[in-house]
């Protein structure tokens, strides 16, 4: 099989930006936390874009995946730290559990919500998120609202030195890797049959169905991929990095809204969009928190409203129109 390299050209600017971010964070002292935050937002944006950007469905409960990913990592570390000799494997068990839990929730959501459209879909997704959160709190599953703390277990397995390294360095590096993976999957889907099917669904689902596209299948593929990536981000950026999880902290719709804002700022359904949006959003949030602590949301809310009304296509949407017909075109999608 001949692989067409040209269709992966748009990855070049994306990976260039990620590499620059990584190097800046690694070699400039004091910037690692900021870079890690930016990588987190970019990874989330890329992951979210795979489903929502391509299908036009608004998964308002996307944070469910991130939250369950966090729980997967928490469970992996808490329960498997009791077995001696597993060592670093417990992190991978945590990731597997994150994938497992997010698959379960994706099946649940696909069964209930993906059959619905528009308003009903959005409401069902929010409902699943809140339903799970309150079930965990109410039935006292996994510690209920007291959550789980597992720094102790982590240090018992790895020793304090390695545990600190894992949580402060390797968790963030993993987020970079997930972001890169998400970007690759984005391009792969965009340039394959899946992407065309998803675009057809976004434009007119009934017509797509009539044309013989198995809409449920492609929607489920995109939904699962997007959910898995979200769960991995959650497992690493929250689960491993923070070493605690509370239902009231992770099942928060605000994070979904952040994903949407990031993708919309950059440009929905584009590859570079979530990256640019993540950088703009992360940086401005960071600076606002320094300049005007406590007022970020008060300033952000009207800005978001204005941007959505004035530039619904986002930064990359505008750039894409500008570079049309030039040699830059093949690098920017």
């Amino acid at each position: 099989m001949k692989i067409n390299i040209a269709k992966y050209y748009p990855l070049i600017p994306v990976y260039a930006v990620y590499l620059t971010m990584f190097l800046v964070g690694f070699f400039v002292p004091g910037l690692w936390q900021l870079v890690a935050l930016l990588a987190f937002y970019c990874a989330l944006g890329q992951s979210w874009n795979i489903f929502m950007g391509m299908t036009g469905y608004v998964d308002f409960g996307y944070v469910t995946f991130i939250a369950l990913g966090t729980y997967g990592m928490a469970l992996g570390i808490t329960y498997f730290s009791q077995f001696p000799g597993l060592g670093i494997a417990i992190i991978f068990i945590g990731l597997l559990l994150a994938l497992f839990l997010s698959t379960l929730s994706a099946i649940l959501e696909a069964g209930i919500a993906l059959r619905l459209r528009g308003a009903y879909f959005a409401i069902a997704c929010i409902g699943i998120n809140e339903g799970l959160r309150h079930l965990i709190e109410g039935a006292k599953i996994w510690g209920g609202s007291e959550g789980m703390l597992y720094w102790k277990e982590l240090t018992e397995v790895f020793g304090t030195e390695t545990a600190i390294q894992l949580t402060t360095l390797w968790a963030d590096i993993a987020v970079f890797i997930i972001a890169a993976m998400a970007a690759f999957i984005n391009v792969y889907y965009m340039r394959s049959k899946i992407g065309y099917a998803l675009t057809a669904i976004r434009e007119d689902e009934d017509a797509a169905k009539v044309m013989g596209i198995d809409t449920t299948k492609y929607k489920t593929i995109a939904f699962l991929t997007s959910g898995w990536l979200g769960a991995l981000v959650g497992a690493m950026a929250w689960g491993l990095k923070l070493t605690h999880v509370f239902p009231a902290d992770v099942f928060v719709i605000h994070y979904t809204v952040e994903c949407i804002v990031i993708v919309v700022l950059g440009g929905i359904g584009t590859l570079l969009g979530p990256l640019v949006g993540g950088l703009i959003y992360g940086l401005s949030k960071y600076w606002l928190a320094i300049i005007l602590p406590g007022f970020q949301l008060l300033i952000f809310a009207p800005i978001i409203i204005c941007i959505i009304i004035a530039f619904p296509e986002g930064v990359i949407g505008v750039v894409k129109r500008r570079v049309k017909g030039t040699r830059l075109e093949r690098y920017i999608i």
């Binding site: 929502m52 036009g56 608004v58 308002f60 069964g111 209930i112 919500a113 619905l116 528009g118 308003a119 009903y120 959005a122 409401i123 069902a124 929010i126 409902g127 699943i128 809140e130 339903g131 799970l132 959160r133 309150h134 079930l135 709190e137 109410g138 039935a139 006292k140 209920g144 609202s145 719709i253 809204v257 949407i260 804002v261 919309v264 929905i268 007022f295 949301l297 008060l298 952000f300 809310a301 009207p302 978001i304 409203i305 959505i308 009304i309 619904p312």
Partner: protein, 295 residues
């Protein structure tokens, strides 16, 4: 014993259900007319609570005096947001409307937090109570539910007996058809949005009459979620459907709480909230048009 407890709670549930019903009518009206889900629904209820708080603590009036004030504040907010923001989003894709209404909600929360502070507040309004053998009902709760029923009835009359009300129903059915028939659809959009927000803010007053404590800028979130469940239960586009669904929801919520409280080792309050959502899924699976919806 448990039956008495259950019966007592169900009475409270029925009373609270009226207020829930009123608080959801605005959401249904906005969805019916504009086809927009107002994700920032709860913060408007919170605004109503703060209108009451301001009237009671600053002007020293009784809480019911806040009802007309809340209507005025709500309609003013409704017109303001409609003409600045919502007007541009009528035929826009879904994510924009969701994002914008959510941002409006955040804006309201932050503005209120900035002016009133983030701490929990409450007020006191004693007007006697009805003592039954199984339970005691403060009169404030009775007034709140009677008030809600009256407002809902007024809305019903407005919808069915006035020309403008009929025009609103026409727009809900088919906005293009209504336009062809000479209805000024844009004005109907503005008016219904304002009335819906007015209703929502007003329901905040009744809610604080019901639960006069715990007023804070972030209290709205939980009501947004309840309103979603109730609205779907009622068929999403029908304000009266929403009102009756509110009654059902109030009954189930309070009844389930009593039953869950009997199970040892669980947090009954969270389980009740969770139950509401599993109910929602069941409904979406079986009958997505709502229990009281058409078809």
């Amino acid at each position: 014993m448990i039956l008495e407890l259950l019966a007592g709670n169900l009475i409270h549930g029925l009373l609270l259900g009226c207020v829930y019903g009123l608080s959801t009518m605005g959401l249904s009206l906005i969805f019916g007319v504009l086809k927009v889900i107002n994700v920032g629904h709860g913060p408007f209820i919170m605004v109503g609570a703060f209108v009451t708080l301001a009237m009671v603590t600053i002007f020293g009036t009784a809480p019911p005096v806040a009802i007309p004030a809340a209507l005025v504040v709500g309609m003013a907010l409704g017109f303001a947001f409609f003409y600045t923001v919502m007007r541009r989003l009528i035929k826009a894709p879904e994510f924009t409307t969701l994002l914008v209404t959510f941002a409006i909600g955040i804006l309201l929360q932050e503005v209120v937090k900035f002016t009133f502070g983030a701490e929990y507040r409450g007020y006191n309004w004693e007007v006697g109570k009805i003592i039954l053998t199984i339970t005691t009902i403060p009169m404030t709760k009775v007034y709140a539910s009677i008030g809600s029923i009256i407002i809902a009835l007024l809305l019903y009359l407005w919808f069915n007996k006035t020309r403008i009300g009929t025009a609103v129903r026409a727009v809900v059915e088919d906005s293009e058809g209504a336009r062809v028939c000479g209805v000024n659809v844009d004005r109907i959009y503005a008016l219904s949005f304002a009335i819906a927000i007015g209703l929502t803010v007003m329901s905040g007053v009744f809610l604080t009459m019901f639960i006069p404590v715990g007023i804070n800028p972030y209290m709205g979130g939980v009501y947004t979620l309840k309103a979603f469940v109730i609205a779907v239960l009622g068929g999403l586009t029908s304000p009266y459907g929403a009102f009756f669904a509110g009654l059902i929801f109030g009954l189930i919520e309070n009844g389930a709480y009593v039953l869950f409280a009997q199970i040892p080792g669980v947090a009954p309050f969270s389980l009740t909230v969770s139950l509401a959502f599993w109910m929602l899924f069941l409904l979406l699976l079986i009958k997505p048009t709502g229990l009281l919806g058409a078809k």
